[in-house]
Symmetry: C4
Subunit: 224 residues, 4 copies
């Protein structure tokens, strides 16, 4: 087994486990969501098979495709969102993981086409400002991928709310993208409730910038 | 044991397990809900016994009735909704499974007699448009069954919200009907929240049609 | 061990297990709630000890008091709501179990002093009409008990929302009272959501009466 | 091992377990929250390491710092909120435990800078009146600690909602602070829902005082 094979085998484990985390975090019901990871240094990605329940997934059932979404390894059809994931990997080389869910409160903002305003320090920390909205686009061609990439490029946010559809999140790897999906639903919910009984107090832009910079440089354990 | 007996024994297992899935999916509390399945090729159905807690159910406690709701096998009384299930099976031969719950957000729409508008791609995918409302009807005769069948026949939706009562969902088999019940509560919740802070953006009818068609033909693994 | 002792020992098990069900049903946090049961044929009740976490409870830690709330058996102080439970048992001989929680949505109605209107068949079935509100009363004397009894006597409902406080439910035994507490929070939630996006459709009083009568006579397995 | 070492070892266990209780109580997602405890009689505290997931925590991974936030024991960086905890311990000698979360409904009130009004007996019992709001302050200096201390000193409440940020709670020990965090989110939620369909009925100040006094003197088992 060469190095690429070992890398793919390891990523199958990770991507399978992270897909199974989605229902544990309350982000998906039934089969509605998917996680993928880029094979490091390769024009390949590992993604969930289409329409399978999360509790049926195994590392072996994950599908390997190239970055045009063509299956390279695996007996099952890949997620119906494979073309979208592939588009993002092709156009954002810094992205190593992508998550798509239909998490409840994020979908509520997406149905109205409204960005989630940055009224909590948690939003500034994780998303660096408002969580932006991307255009409505039909599945089946490159329109969703284009909308995601165009929106994320103009924002510090690792999350985009695709109008009338739901959230996509990115990260340096698949786990980071899952973290962003988890934090997104949490802030979507808290800011939703904040608006129900009045108008939240805005955080000044300079403070948002300060929090965003600090979070990226100071928080957590030093990586070595 | 002949083939029909084997078929019934297998369906008892399936219907018991799917009933027990209802509380796991957060769709029911206490005893308030039921799943049934049609015995393939027979004028028979398997349904939950009345007023039993989900954690007490066993395959043996499931009740077999004919399609007039008369008990054929089983020591317990069948669900008090048996007449309704039987009516639907008699009038919709394509239906192989039925679920009834009082899931929270679906009941909130039902209490107002309002259809759930198709403002998320997930609604278009699963329900092919708005989730329709059926008439208010008292339990105990055929009125509920008639209302369900009349409403579903005019819709692509596998779910109907019976006014002041709650949802019924149908499927080609019992598992499909459970899936529809799970997705229904999810969209009932997301669209509810979407309306709380403004007006969701409508999805054009042609896009709803496109999504509905595609979902039925492309999504998931090819069945063989 | 005489018959009364056996009866108390058995009830300690039941009341302990039902108290531990409260957090499982999402009705309480930390120590905020209690279940009691009347010792059949005796002027005695079994109740949760005060301020203990649900996961620390054992049958032995349950407290036996007379119907004036005086401890008869047990090393711990009984629930601070003991006087209220005792008052209800003294004045409502048909009651065999009582539950008090601070469940979230029931408390929301109680804080406004609003009855939960009967706009779902589930409310008609379980509560026979609107769920009534009792007066605000301070803990420490008989005022809460008096308010509960006076309110429940004028209603078919086994649940009362004590203003600015929370729900009390009764039943023929402790399990029935827990069932009422579970169903109460469910209808409190569904009817709350129903009102958030408009006005629910009322159910005619004659239909409420029909549903209430039928539920009490037909639903469930025949008791023998 | 001397007495201080034993005391620290025991507190590492307690603080680790209480941190892990935060996700169980639904108060935090991912790594967003922390519990600390003061080492009895020492100028030391035990706190969660920064940016670690709750399920990865062990007693050994807890960090010991002095009351200026300087690490005394432990290989990991302490929580990024360590300076804030240290400030509170320095200025409130009666405090033995501190909890910080971003629990959803508490954050919703904090985003609007609104105190949670005392409209339920549970609020009077646990918080002795309205739950107060502290000023907006950036992380990284003493501003958050100052805001917490200044706000709590003018209130009976063991909880403060820091504007645009989230709640901090205190207690005589770490478990008491966790209890306050749990009760806070519960009352934040119930009072939120109470306001959504109208205006809650106020509780007279004299009754709030009565409930607050009684709860502190009568509730629970006598400590010996």
């Amino acid at each position: 087994m060469n190095e690429v094979s070992r890398s793919i085998t390891a990523l199958r484990e990770v991507v399978c486990a992270l897909n199974q985390d989605l229902p544990r975090h309350g982000l998906v019901v039934w089969t509605a969501g998917n996680v993928s990871g880029r094979v490091p240094g390769q024009e390949l990605m590992v993604i969930k098979p289409s329409g399978m329940r999360f509790d049926e997934l195994t590392p072996e059932s994950m599908v390997v495709t190239d970055l045009n979404g063509v299956v390279v390894e695996g007996d099952l059809s890949p997620s119906s969102d494979t073309g979208t994931h592939a588009y993002v990997y092709r156009h954002m080389p810094e992205v190593g993981g992508i998550v798509h869910t239909h998490s409840t409160y994020a979908c509520a903002w997406a149905a109205r086409g409204q960005a989630i305003p940055c009224v909590l320090t948690m939003v500034a920390d994780e998303f660096g400002g408002d969580v932006p909205v991307g255009p409505f686009a039909l599945i089946g061609n490159e329109a969703i991928g284009e909308g995601i990439v165009a929106t994320l490029r103009e924002s510090r946010s690792p999350a985009v709310l695709m109008q009338n559809h739901g959230p996509f999140t990115i990260g340096k790897d698949a786990q980071s993208a899952v973290k962003a999906a988890v934090m997104l639903e949490e802030v979507a919910k808290a800011v939703h409730h904040a608006h129900q009984l009045g108008v939240p107090i805005p955080i000044p832009q300079s403070d948002i910038d300060h929090l965003s910079d600090r979070y990226r440089s100071v928080y957590g354990q030093r990586q070595e």
